[in-house]
Structures are given as structure tokens and as C-alpha cells.
């Protein structure tokens, strides 16, 4: 395969051979937790050979087909692909030639100057021009135009100096670009400019523009990664700049888009767990050998126990009680876990959900009455349930005590209790006896904590105290959550 001119739609000329680059990319994908075997790598190299490097979009799809094994890995793949098979080198053709978008053509940003001063434009002018261009692009809804604006914006606003002499090379920051450009401020204008269709369809405009703005943010990120990779090396960028797969994102630090994606994962996850649980139940049905009956049976075969008899297990689906901290800091996590349990509802004969901030109230009704949007769910709970009568911050001690006094009878010998929360008690009384009562009444009880285990006990965290009463598990990601639920849920 011969190297090609850096055309707009072609992959940048390669330093190493394409195969070497595929291998390096596989290495990066593995670094992000994707399982890519040798046979997949071979397939990918063959795909590259068959498709050629001339058309980047084709190559992307081809490599994806060969390297990916399941849905949901695609975003990580796309980010890594953009780093290893970048669109051209340096500022893009569109940025270099265009005079109206960003006007940053003759200004090379690699002098390390944070705000490259050029032909008398103030940064405000650049920002204003870029915003106008963005409004236009959003109004037309054209991906190409948005991409051009993203390239110009990163070029004009995103340059960051390297760190110190002999340190890292200068790079480009998507965050800085977006902070200066503030694309969300263009939504209203773009919506007005769009106002294409009259009637109720116009209402869809706002939402569509919003989604396009999200897409624009992603484009800026891609462009910044690409430009930074040139200076700082691909491996580095692939390692640090690629957003992790939704399964590995931490609940407490997830942004809106990531939460949305995590929500989409819940349905298949719930089904997977349900299959696993029912399989476990099937196995568990076969109890231990009933010696007496086995011996009795063996009489018919002359004392040889040909057919062992098993004890019958008492079949009862377990009951589940969830106790969720829905205070602001962990609401996302709690909402998420409730969603999962809601999806798993068939697996239990009874699920009751209680929410608390500093007082516990039953919210089973609110959760079962439709509506699966965790954000709305949290809001509904705060609005309808009496969970925070005293102040807006968590008080586990008081919450447990109020649970024991009002709902202790809910927990019986068949009940498993899951407590969800970060155990940050704002230095209040942890209320260990109340939790002890709950744990003593329940068949099993455990605590899922969305904080990293190394932070338990720091500051106002009462996690170690609680961990002595009920077993506590770190549960920061979907991956961990599904593992824990699969392992801990009663059969």
C-alpha cells in the first residue's frame, strides 16, 4: 500500500506500515479493557488490506467489524481509531484556507501561546465569529459544517502550552475550547434560525439542536485528541484522552451523556442477570443427597444405591428490601441501582424500596408506577416522599432509626437487605444499633458503596464502622454492579 497525499477524506500518510498501526491500535484498545485476540488482529489487518487506506470511513467500519465483538464497545473504538488513523495532519485544509471561520489560517498555534495573537483579532472576535459559524452549522444540521467549525475552534481556542522545558509538547484542550466557545449559548439562536416547519414540529427543533450541540462537543474532543496526538504521541493520547466504556465509568463522576448510555445498558444487563439467577436457581433446586430415601430405594436394587434421592429444596423466591441514600451526592447511583432492581423485579416475590436522606420513607409505589428516568425518579422521590424533613444532607443514623421504628416488620427471615449509599454521615451519629437490628432480622444484608474503597473512612465517611455491621462492597461502575448483583443476590 503506497502512502497517499493527505486529502480531506484520506488517512494521513503513515509513518509506520498500516499493519503496524493496526497492531498499535489493538494494543491501545486492550489498554481500555477490550478483549481483542490475535485472530481478530489478523482479521483487522486483512480488512485493512482489502479495503485500502484511501477511504477513512470504510476503513473505520471494516476495522470495527473485525475487532469488536459486542455492541457498546463502539465509542471507545471510535475514539481510539481517530487517534491512530487521524484525519490529515496539522490544521485541516478547511481551517487553513477559510477566511471566515475562526480566521486562524496563518496563525500557527504551536508557539505555546495560550491565546495566539494574530492579525489584530481579539479572542472575543474569534469566539464571536466561531459562534456565528456554529449557529449556522446547527441551523442547517449539517455534520460536515459542524465538523469544520469544531476544527477551527480547536485551532483557534484550544492550544495549551507544554509543561516546562523538556516536558510535554504543547497540546490542544477540548475543555478549554468548549469553555471559551460555550456552544450551549448558541442553542436558542440556532433554533430560531432553524424554525423550518410550523406547528408542533417546531417543538422538536430545540431538542434536535441540543443533540447536535452534544455531537459538536464530541467533534471538538476528537479534533483536540487528533492535534494533541501529533505533538505528544498516540499512545499517550489514546491512554488518557479516550473516554472509558460506559461499563467502566464511575457512577459518581458520570456526565449526562454517560448516564444516558449507562441507562441503555440496564435492560440487557437485567436480562443477563435474570438468566444467570434462574440458572442458579435450577442448580440449587437439586439439594443434598437424602440418605434415608436413598437407602430405602437401594433395597429394590439389592442394596446398591443406583438412584440417589435428593432432598427437595423449599422453593421460595426471595424478598428484597432496598435502602437508598437519595441525597444529591449519590442520587445518580441510587437511581441507577433502583432501575436495575426494578428491571429484575420478576426475580423476587416482593421488592420494597425505601429512600432516605435523613428520614426513611417507602417509595416502592413511586418506582413501580412507570417512569424509568432515574433523574426524574430522584426528583419525584424528593418531591413526594418524606425523606429530608430536617435538612438537605444525609444522616444515616437518623434514617436507620426511623426505618426501624416504622418499618421493622418489613424485614423477615426471607428478606435480603441492600443498603445503597456512600456512608458519608456529615459527622453525625452513625446509628450502628439500628443498622444492627436491621441486619439481625434479615436473612442477608449488604451495603453497596459507590466510593473507591481507599476513601472509606476519610473525612465524614463512616464506612468502616458500617462495614463491621454489614458486609460492604465497593460498587463504582456498572461492571462492578452487575458482578456484585450476580454474586450477592439470593437464589
Amino acid at each position: 500500500m503506497s502512502p497517499r497525499e493527505p486529502a480531506e477524506d484520506a488517512v494521513a500518510p503513515t509513518v509506520a506500515t498500516p499493519t503496524a498501526r493496526v497492531v498499535a491500535m489493538v494494543e491501545a484498545l486492550r489498554g481500555h479493557g477490550l478483549v481483542v485476540g490475535t485472530s481478530e488482529t489478523v482479521d483487522a489487518a486483512r480488512a485493512g488490506e482489502v479495503l485500502g487506506l484511501a477511504d477513512r470511513a470504510l476503513l473505520r467500519e471494516g476495522l470495527a467489524a473485525a475487532l469488536l465483538r459486542r455492541s457498546g464497545q463502539r465509542r471507545v473504538f471510535d475514539s481510539v481509531f481517530d487517534v491512530y488513523f487521524p484525519l490529515g495532519v496539522g490544521a485541516r485544509e478547511a481551517v487553513r484556507t477559510s477566511s471566515d471561520v475562526g480566521r486562524s489560517g496563518d496563525r500557527r498555534a504551536d508557539d505555546g501561546d495560550r491565546r495566539p495573537s494574530g492579525d489584530g483579532d481579539s479572542p472575543q472576535d474569534v469566539v464571536r465569529r466561531l459562534r456565528e459559524a456554529l449557529v449556522e452549522a446547527l441551523a442547517s444540521g449539517s455534520r460536515g459544517a459542524m465538523d469544520a467549525v469544531a476544527a477551527a475552534a480547536v485551532d483557534g481556542l484550544g492550544a495549551v502550552p507544554g509543561s516546562g522545558p523538556g516536558g510535554t509538547a504543547p497540546g490542544y484542550s477540548a475543555r478549554q475550547t468548549l469553555e471559551m466557545l460555550r456552544p450551549q449559548t448558541t442553542i436558542a439562536a440556532a433554533q430560531a434560525a432553524r424554525a423550518s416547519s410550523p406547528g408542533f414540529l417546531a417543538r422538536l427543533d430545540r431538542e434536535e439542536v441540543r443533540r447536535d450541540v452534544e455531537a459538536f462537543r464530541a467533534l471538538v474532543q476528537t479534533e483536540a485528541n487528533r492535534r494533541t496526538a501529533e505533538g505528544r504521541g498516540r499512545e499517550r493520547v489514546a491512554r488518557y484522552a479516550v473516554r472509558p466504556d460506559a461499563e467502566a465509568v464511575e457512577f459518581l463522576s458520570a456526565d449526562r451523556a454517560q448516564l444516558l448510555e449507562m441507562r441503555r445498558r440496564v435492560q440487557p444487563l437485567a436480562r443477563r442477570l435474570a438468566t444467570r439467577l434462574s440458572a442458579r436457581r435450577r442448580h440449587a433446586n437439586r439439594g443434598q443427597i437424602d440418605v434415608r430415601r436413598t437407602l430405602r430405594r437401594s433395597l429394590t436394587t439389592g442394596g446398591v444405591p443406583l438412584r440417589p434421592a435428593f432432598e427437595h429444596r423449599h422453593k421460595a423466591r426471595p424478598e428484597l428490601v432496598l435502602l437508598c441514600d437519595v441525597s444529591g451526592s449519590v442520587a445518580g447511583f441510587a437511581g441507577f441501582t433502583m432501575l436495575l432492581v426494578q428491571a429484575l423485579r420478576d426475580q423476587f416475590s416482593k421488592v420494597r424500596v425505601f429512600a432516605f436522606v435523613n428520614h426513611t420513607d417507602e417509595v416502592t409505589e413511586l418506582i413501580t408506577a412507570g417512569g424509568t428516568d432515574p433523574a426524574a425518579l430522584a426528583a419525584r422521590i424528593l418531591a413526594h416522599a418524606n425523606v429530608a424533613p430536617w435538612h438537605p444532607s444525609s444522616d444515616y443514623g437518623r434514617a436507620f432509626a426511623s426505618f426501624v421504628s416504622s418499618y421493622a416488620s418489613v424485614i423477615g427471615p426471607r428478606t435480603s437487605v441492600i443498603v445503597l449509599g456512600d456512608a458519608r454521615n456529615n459527622y453525625g451519629d452513625p446509628g450502628l444499633p439500628a443498622l444492627g437490628t436491621i441486619a439481625a432480622r434479615a436473612r442477608r444484608s449488604f451495603w453497596l458503596n459507590p466510593e473507591h474503597a481507599s476513601r472509606w473512612g476519610l473525612g465524614d465517611s463512616a464506612a468502616p464502622e458500617y462495614a463491621r455491621v454489614v458486609e460492604m462492597h465497593e460498587c463504582r461502575t456498572i461492571e462492578q454492579l452487575s458482578g456484585l448483583v450476580g454474586r450477592l443476590l439470593p437464589v
Binding site: 482489502v50 479495503l51 470511513a57 467489524a65 465483538r69 459486542r70 438468566t275
Partner: protein, 291 residues
């Protein structure tokens, strides 16, 4: 190795001749599956055209479509082959007087073999397209059977030996991901995730399938469908439902989408009453307040 397609563009063009508008990712993956001679595992939400893709490939390559519909409990006898016991018994009865050895050699031959989809695709004299539909519905054991078929295009019948394919079939497996497929199976396949199409593509699909529909109406329809897919529904509207909706609108003689028409016909698009209610709220139909 037969080469069914000459380029990615060729895939796109020929599939569109039979009415399947392929996105670039679909076209590329189909082309690769042909070139690398690997089966294609297609995942994605219901109603985005996974099964349709296999049909379209069969149509453009002018090959027979052999379909194995998987379900819970599908077994070797349903998927691979079984012996025609009745006919074997007849043969034994007819051949009175011959020795057992003669009979035995005779009743385990091709004549008494009932080929089920996988064997039929492997042994076919003409090239075929093999569709293994909803493989996630089948039990895990069946995946073991598939491994041999998918990697070597061969089936081992103990009495007859290993039967190899005359023409490796173009193989498409579909899955709705209700169950995790085994790594071994996944590794044998190229992977394609078909999602709901981009609005432009969906608009073209709708207009291809429902030619009478006005361009403006098609665009609005796709916008509404996309807006609905983004809210939380029990069953998001699929492409097939967009097409149904377009047909309905055409039948009603509605040239433009207005609030009233949408309100009346939402039931074509959505399959649950609470979904319909939610959609009403979301689209602010009939004065429903935005929640």
C-alpha cells in the same frame, strides 16, 4: 472462494436495487464478510432490518436463502440433520433375507438422511445464503454445533464422515442480545451492530418503501420518530414501524403531519398504551403539559 461483490459501492448499489438501503457500515461489513469468507454476526434493536439484510443479500446474489430460526430448545435434529427412521424401517422390512451387515451399510446412507437447514446450506450444489436467525434465543449447547459449521463450513455425521461445503454459504447470524453469546462464537464472526438509521437514511428508506409519500411528510415523520426514540419507551419505534406509519398516513390521505394526525395514528407507531401516553406528553399533544 466465490466473490459475490466487487466493491463496497457495488454492495450498496446492488442492495438498493432490491430495496435495501444499506448504511456505509452495513455495506462495508457485508463486503468484508464476502472477502474474508467469514460469517457475519448482526446485533441491534428489533426492527432495524437484520433479517432483511440476509434476504437482500440472497436476492442480489441470486442464491437460495436457507433459514434456521432459533428458539429455546432447537436441537441438533432441527438444526443439522436427522435420520429418516420410518424410511429406514421400511428399507429393513423390504430387504428381508439379506444379512445384517448389508442392511446396516445400506440404511445409513444419503438416501435416509434428512437435511435440516445447516446441512442443507453446506451440501447445496448451488451457492446459498445461510441465515441463522435470533441465535440468542437458542440454548447455549447449539452454539457448539455452530462452531464447526461456521469455522470450517463442514458438518460431521458420525456414520458418513465429515461433509464439507461445496460452496461456503454467505452466513448471517442475527441476535437481539437477550443472552450473552459465547466468546468462541463471536470470535468466528465479523461483528456488525445495526442501530436505528441516521435520519437522512431513514427518510430515504421510508420513501423507497412508500413511494407515494410526500417528501416533506417523510421528513417530518422521521423527525417525530427520532424524537420518540430518544424518550424512554418500553418499545422504541423500529424502522418497520416508521414504514407502517408512512403507509397509514398515505392511506389516510394526510399530506402533512399535524398535531391531529399524529394524535390519531400514534397507535401504529407505539405498541403499549403507556408509551402512547408518554409520547403524547412529550410531543405536547392535546394540551398535555410538558412534565
Amino acid at each position: 472462494m466465490s466473490e459475490r461483490f466487487s466493491s463496497v459501492d457495488d454492495v450498496t448499489a446492488r442492495l438498493s436495487e432490491v430495496g435495501y438501503l444499506a448504511s456505509p457500515s452495513v455495506a462495508t461489513t457485508v463486503y468484508l464478510a464476502d472477502r474474508l469468507d467469514k460469517p457475519l454476526l448482526v446485533e441491534g434493536p428489533a426492527g432495524v432490518g437484520k433479517t432483511e439484510l440476509a434476504r437482500a443479500v440472497a436476492a442480489v446474489t441470486r442464491t437460495e436463502l436457507v433459514r434456521l430460526q432459533c428458539y429455546e430448545g432447537v436441537d441438533e435434529a432441527r438444526a443439522l440433520y436427522e435420520w429418516n427412521h420410518a424410511k429406514q424401517l421400511l428399507r429393513i422390512t423390504a430387504g428381508r433375507g439379506e444379512t445384517w451387515d448389508e442392511t446396516r451399510d445400506d440404511i445409513f446412507t444419503d438416501e435416509f438422511l434428512l437435511a435440516r437447514p445447516l446441512l442443507r446450506a453446506i451440501r447445496s450444489d448451488a451457492p446459498t445464503t445461510l441465515l441463522i436467525d435470533e441465535v440468542d434465543k437458542a440454548d447455549q449447547e447449539i452454539e457448539g454445533l455452530l462452531l464447526e459449521v461456521l469455522s470450517d463450513y463442514a458438518i460431521t455425521v458420525p456414520e458418513l464422515g465429515t461433509l464439507e461445503a461445496h460452496h461456503p454459504p454467505f452466513t448471517v447470524l442475527t441476535s437481539n442480545a437477550t443472552r450473552e453469546l459465547s466468546e468462541a462464537l463471536r470470535r468466528r464472526c465479523l461483528f456488525l451492530h445495526i442501530d436505528f438509521p441516521e435520519p437522512d437514511l431513514e427518510e430515504r428508506i421510508v420513501r423507497t418503501r412508500v413511494p407515494g409519500l410526500d417528501e416533506e411528510a417523510a421528513r417530518s415523520l422521521v423527525r417525530v420518530v427520532n424524537a420518540l426514540r430518544r424518550i424512554d419507551l418500553r418499545k422504541a419505534p423500529a424502522v418497520s414501524e416508521s414504514i407502517d406509519w408512512a403507509r397509514t398516513l398515505l392511506a389516510l390521505g394526510a399530506d402533512t403531519l399535524d398535531e391531529h394526525v399524529v394524535e390519531e395514528t400514534l397507535g401504529v407507531l407505539l405498541k403499549h398504551t403507556d408509551d402512547v401516553a408518554r409520547a403524547r406528553t412529550h410531543l405536547e399533544l392535546s394540551g398535555a403539559e410538558r412534565s
